[in-house]
Symmetry: C2
Subunit: 432 residues, 2 copies
Amino acid sequence: MSNSASQNQLALAKAGVVSEAMQAVAKAESRPAEYIREELAAGRIVIPCNIRHSSLEPIGIGRRLKTKINANIGTSSLSSCIEQELHKLAYAVKFGADTVMDLSTGGNLTATRLEIIRHSSVPIGTVPVYELACRNDETEIDFSKESILKLIQAQAEQGVDYMTIHAGIRPEQIPLAAKRKLRIVSRGGALIARHMSKNNCDNPFYDCFDEILEICAKYDVTLSLGDGMRPGCLADASDEAQFAELAELGRLGRRCREANVQVMIEGPGHIPMHEIEMNMRRQQELCDDAPFYILGPVVIDCAPGYDHITSAIGAAMGAWHGAAMLCYVTPMEHIGLPEAEDVRDGVIAYKIAAHAADIAKNIPGAQSRDDRISEARADFDWEQQFDLALDPEKAREMRKRALRHQENPAPQAQFCTMCGPKLCSMRVSKEL
Amino acid sequence: MSNSASQNQLALAKAGVVSEAMQAVAKAESRPAEYIREELAAGRIVIPCNIRHSSLEPIGIGRRLKTKINANIGTSSLSSCIEQELHKLAYAVKFGADTVMDLSTGGNLTATRLEIIRHSSVPIGTVPVYELACRNDETEIDFSKESILKLIQAQAEQGVDYMTIHAGIRPEQIPLAAKRKLRIVSRGGALIARHMSKNNCDNPFYDCFDEILEICAKYDVTLSLGDGMRPGCLADASDEAQFAELAELGRLGRRCREANVQVMIEGPGHIPMHEIEMNMRRQQELCDDAPFYILGPVVIDCAPGYDHITSAIGAAMGAWHGAAMLCYVTPMEHIGLPEAEDVRDGVIAYKIAAHAADIAKNIPGAQSRDDRISEARADFDWEQQFDLALDPEKAREMRKRALRHQENPAPQAQFCTMCGPKLCSMRVSKEL
């Protein structure tokens, strides 16, 4: 679908108009279009859809809709190749990513981003401060208003659907972060904090926030207010720095909606299980129930190589208690840049977390896939089980592996190699 | 350590005696020995330690102690090799399994079990009904009292530390299971239910429960009361059949403790996230807070190939809300028999779940490993990070993979390949 400049979704929703995008979301979510419009007007749903992103199929993000997941891709200074990023994009979408963020920091950023947007049917997000940092050498990032606005304007023109802007990190929070074990682990947050400290100034994104809103309203870029102060370990979770910034994000969120800019709020990070529900409630209160877009959270710090699992636990609980979108974490987290197989592992772990939350939240129809695969199990219909699996290829490969030692492997056999035919509970209980 | 026949832990605890095993548990858990004795006497902690298992290092299982995990190994009719099972045993213990169950159903069961017990420092559990079923042909399992008691006696003499006995499944529950999508998915449960249905009789394990208790008290075999009625899909979760059996397990548990037999209760299965806490509370009420030993639970049905993840989510929440031990689920669940690498994936996923729960439950000292690895991160001390990781080998391999495209890979570099040196938040925030 295509949009014209007059199609700012929030402005339309406030004016009582149901747009094509709202209709598409209503259909995908099995909800009335008017419900989507109302929630969008109230700021509880966003539909990131830059008017320039012509290949986009719009999706809705909000805690009363199906939980969405995001996959991060992107080059680094150590590894950059557009083809490889397009491969990761295709892989992420194939396995179920609802949005993709291009976090490239190496190679030709503009060309990479353009290719990703052109090839993507899902909303594309970016973190403009990365490009700012990559354009200059390490110690002299140009944080001038002109530089920031020019960059955001250029990315908006390219068709970026949502942008992470760390406008909520403020000078008074820096002493709070200094008390932490890991200080600031957000890249954007750390760069801005250093700039504020060195120059004894406020956050440059905060300073030109009104001008940023003008650009975003024009192209209908959704803002994702970044959590520069997200905790980077359990010891730093739910601390003063985190919540001081969250309150600021709530205030900025109100300014976004007033300016007809759709807005999400980003969240932690590293949070122990028993603090997750509290964190979700706090965000809803401080940020007027704007969609909460969380990274994990990982629930333990000591499993590098398995952080797609440590964080899927936190993400499932976070979405159940109110997060609207989950940013995936791959097994490579805390180690290095993810490759295509890591992207797959991360996406599937997050599809699991999102689906578990949708069932716990009683999203209409969420459990029907599970009910159908269970019926296929009862019927020993292996093909149907694979077709309904979140990752059919993996399930098929594993079944093949399980059967490889059998002399006459019968893939449709009425039992699995776990129990064998004699002890198959499914066979036995059919005789009841 | 060795035990004599007079060293029945529960009898000793009731008599006010602190045994060597209780002292060892107290030390491992950093609790007073008298506390362990009191909880054991009250039935809230068990220490599975058959007096014949001479290589055992005893552990305590209870919801106020560190969460324990079990790994299932064992042959099947399609794949049986003692060496391979010993390899799985070593692998499971190396990666952190606190107990191991030998669920063998193929090859020489007696010899396999004896070798596993002989090589194991962790408690070994079994499910005697499997051996009963394997000894005879499919339709004519010998469920006579003599056959059952002889088998349990033989396994007790071999040194089995705990046994799953499905004594709680009763004829009146079968019509309740008939309403289900997946009826009975427990192998033991299905075999016993078929026997009861065909012969119009009660559960043979229930019928000779007092005699079973005599044997178990003599060798100090802990009973793990099996949940033959555990739900096998979300649609069957938390239903009448499940809770009717749970109430029966609570009554049987009281008989165990009166007969000086330590007892755990087994639990589901497939449970959606929003019903997990309720399930844990229900067990505590119905079963006098006897240790709850749960399988998963998986929280969605549609991710075959990834059930170590779907179930780690449920296991973490279950342990947080009161489960004492978690039976692992491997990626092969619902597909086939796990091999060594599946055992590793399952064990690590469950170490993650158990550790996350211990932090959420505020088990003393649980978070110190996380705090230390976070400090190592702040210091760019990669070796220390690997040493503190739940799976150091995996973390090291992945770091090597991340560095392989670099010209001069420096494993101790002050950044990771995720951000590269310029955008490393840890470096930048050190400058604050």
